[in-house]
Subunit: 112 residues, 2 copies
């Protein structure tokens, strides 16, 4: 696509995607939910460096964009679990390509 | 990969990629340079909504990450052109997947 140049329609769809996934946390949170639903603390532990405040904000944004669901269980005390939706799972190829590119980038820039 | 779950090594490479590409502008700038070198004003026109200050900052960051080059030509007055590098072009598949996902996301969330 790059070699075919940037038609405005493509630019719009990439912009849509980048707005839904903006920042460095959302994809990492989705990645952490990829192997099963998790509670807040478990996500926070897996996504190193994220503060509780930001994680809370990002989870709300992901829910609004139909990428995850938030389920409250009627236990005592109540438990809350976050799960990736099929729409969230449809980011698999994006993440795969980012993974491969990230490996190549580390090699190129950081020389390891 | 998502269905295979999130091993720490994959998380690290995705994090590397997201840090190099952070924000909503960098990929759009690279996309605008995909069909040939451009001057500052031309990029600014193509990437709608970006301010000169942010564009200038983003171009520097992209240059530091070896994704673009900045070439000064000895004309009167001097002209400056930005061009995508092969490393920048290696983001083609990431952009392609973001493009497809962006289309699906617009359909799902915005219903159009």
């Amino acid at each position: 696509m790059l070699t075919r140049g940037g038609c405005p329609r493509n630019m719009m769809s990439i912009r849509d995607a980048l707005e839904a996934l903006e920042g460095k946390w959302k994809l990492l949170i989705l990645f952490s939910l990829a192997n099963g639903p998790k509670r807040f603390k478990a996500i926070s532990k897996e996504v190193e460096g994220i503060s509780d405040k930001i994680l809370s904000k990002e989870l709300k944004h992901l829910e609004l964009n139909a990428l995850i669901t938030r389920q409250v269980y009627d236990t005592f005390p109540p438990t809350v679990e976050y799960a990736i939706t099929p729409h969230g799972q449809s980011l698999e190829k994006v993440m795969e390509e980012l993974h491969f590119w990230g490996l190549a980038h580390r090699k190129k820039i950081m020389g390891k």
